[in-house]
C-alpha cells in the first residue's frame, strides 16, 4: 500500500519535525497524524476515541454554524466521525491533515442533507460536485500547508478579511449574502476574499 511505503520511507529529519511539532504545539494545533495512521493501519480504538473527543464538539459547533439544528448537527457529526473510522485506511498523512478530512466530510454531509434537487434531477449532484472526499487527487506533499504556518497566517489577516473568511466557512454565506449583510459592493467582497486566500497561501509575503 502506498501509505505503508510512504511511512517507511519517512526521513529521520521528517520524523523529528513531526515529533517536535507534536510537542511544541498548543492543543488546538496538535498533530493528529499519529492517531489517524493508528486508526487506519490497526483500527486502534483508543486513537480513534482521542480524535473523537477532540473533534466531535468542534464538528457539532461547525454544523450548527452553517445551519443545522442541534439534533441534526449531532447526528451528522457522529456520521462524519464514523466515516473517518471506516475510511481511515485511505488516509495519506503526506497529503492532508485529519482536520481537513473531517471538514470535507462534515461539509459534504451537510450539503447532502439540505440540498434541494433541480426539478429535472437525475443522479446525485453532490456526488458529482464534491467527489473524492477521502483521496483528493493531484496533491503533492509540498503543497500541503503546514498547520502551524497556516494558523499564523490566519491570525495575521486584517479584521475585515478574517470576518469574511469566517462568514464564508462558518456561516456558508455566499458573496452576495455577505455583500448584502455588510452593505459592501460585491466586487469588494470578492477582492477581500481573493486577497485573504492568497495571503493564507503565503503568496503575499509572510506575516511579520
Amino acid at each position: 500500500m502506498a501509505l505503508n511505503r510512504r511511512l517507511e520511507t519517512t526521513s529521520p529529519f521528517e520524523a523529528a519535525r513531526r515529533m517536535s511539532s507534536l510537542d511544541a504545539s498548543a492543543p488546538e494545533t496538535k498533530d493528529w497524524t499519529h492517531d489517524m495512521v493508528a486508526v487506519g493501519r490497526r483500527r486502534d480504538r483508543d486513537a480513534f476515541m482521542r480524535l473523537y473527543d477532540h473533534f466531535m464538539p468542534r464538528l457539532c459547533q461547525y454544523l450548527r454554524g452553517i445551519g443545522s439544528p442541534e439534533a441534526i448537527a449531532e447526528e451528522l457529526a457522529q456520521e462524519a466521525m464514523l466515516r473517518l473510522w471506516q475510511h481511515a485506511g485511505a488516509y495519506d498523512p503526506s497529503r492532508s491533515a485529519a482536520s481537513t478530512w473531517l471538514f470535507r466530510i462534515a461539509r459534504n454531509l451537510h450539503i447532502d442533507r439540505y440540498r434541494r434537487e433541480p426539478t429535472n434531477a437525475i443522479g446525485n449532484p453532490r456526488e458529482a460536485e464534491y467527489e473524492a472526499e477521502f483521496e483528493p487527487d493531484g496533491r503533492n506533499t509540498e503543497d500541503y500547508t503546514e498547520s502551524v504556518q497556516l494558523k499564523r497566517r490566519i491570525d495575521a489577516l486584517s479584521s475585515v478579511q478574517g470576518r469574511l473568511i469566517r462568514m464564508s466557512y462558518f456561516e456558508a454565506k455566499t458573496h452576495q449574502e455577505i455583500s448584502a449583510e455588510l452593505d459592501m459592493p460585491l466586487g469588494t467582497v470578492k477582492s477581500h476574499l481573493r486577497r485573504a486566500f492568497l495571503r493564507l497561501q503565503g503568496e503575499l509575503g509572510e506575516p511579520a
Binding site: 470535507r104 483528493p136 487527487d137 496533491r139 481573493r194
Partner: protein, 221 residues
C-alpha cells in the same frame, strides 16, 4: 487539454467552504473535473476549513448527552467494518456525455438536448436552479459575435467545446471565465466549429443595444 483560464480564488474559497450557490457550484465542479491547478487550490482552501474547525473553542455538550453520544459511537465502531478502498471511476471519454455535475440540469447526452433558437446561429437552453440562479447552455455557431453584455452579479462560464475570443483572451475547451460584475465583454466564436459553453448566473444579465434588448426576453433572464 490543460486549461489556461482558471477560477477566481474567491470562487475557489467559497466553493471549498460550501458557500457557493448550487448552480455556481455545478459549473465550478465541471471545471474542476479537468483542471488539476484548481483542484489543488480547492484542497488548500479545504486545509483552511480544517484548521478553522480545529481552532474553534467549542461549547461542550451537556455531560450526559456527550456520554450518551460517546457510548453510541463505541457501539457503532463494533458493527462498522473498514470500507474497501475503491478506485475512482474512470471519467468517460464519450464526447456525447454531458459532464456529471451538469447532468441534474441538462441530462446525460449532448445529442438529446432540445435547443431553442435565440438568433442566427445561436441556440440556448435555460434552467432555473433550486436556489433561483440560472443555468444557461449556449451553442453559438462559428464566427459569431455575441452582444456586448455585462453582469449584474456573478457569471461563471465553462467552455465545453469549440472556442471564443474576447478582450480577456482566448477561451478553449476546459477553460473557465469567472467574471466580475464590472466586466463587460463581447465574445466572438472561433471559425470551424460551434462553441458550446455552460454558464451559471447569480443575477440577471444586463444587455446593451437593440439586438441585445431583443434577445433579453428570449434569455428570460
Amino acid at each position: 487539454m490543460t486549461p489556461r483560464h482558471h477560477l477566481d480564488p474567491a470562487t475557489v474559497l467559497s466553493h471549498a467552504a460550501g458557500a457557493l450557490s448550487q448552480e455556481l457550484s455545478a459549473v465550478v465542479a465541471t471545471h474542476l473535473e479537468g483542471c488539476a491547478t484548481c483542484r489543488e487550490a480547492v484542497a488548500r482552501a479545504e486545509d483552511v476549513g480544517g484548521l478553522l474547525i480545529n481552532q474553534q473553542h467549542p461549547q461542550p455538550l451537556p455531560d450526559a448527552r456527550a456520554q450518551a453520544l460517546r457510548a453510541a459511537m463505541l457501539d457503532r465502531l463494533e458493527s462498522t467494518p473498514a470500507a474497501a478502498s475503491r478506485a475512482p471511476e474512470p471519467r468517460s471519454k464519450d464526447p456525447d456525455r454531458i459532464p456529471a455535475p451538469l447532468q441534474p440540469y441538462f441530462g446525460a447526452s449532448f445529442r438529446a438536448l432540445k435547443w431553442r433558437w435565440m438568433g442566427p446561429g445561436m441556440h440556448f437552453i435555460r434552467r432555473t436552479g433550486p436556489s433561483g440562479g440560472n443555468m444557461l447552455m449556449l451553442r453559438i455557431g462559428p464566427g459569431k459575435r455575441l452582444p456586448v453584455h455585462s453582469h449584474g452579479g456573478t457569471e461563471i462560464t465553462q467552455i465545453l467545446s469549440g472556442a471564443y475570443d474576447d478582450a480577456l483572451g482566448h477561451f478553449g475547451p476546459g477553460d473557465v471565465a469567472d467574471l466580475d460584475s464590472e466586466t463587460e465583454h463581447q465574445p466572438v466564436t472561433r471559425a470551424g466549429a460551434p462553441c458550446i459553453c455552460v454558464s451559471a448566473l447569480d443575477a440577471p444579465l444586463r444587455f446593451q443595444g437593440w439586438l441585445a434588448r431583443r434577445l433579453q426576453p428570449m434569455y428570460g433572464i
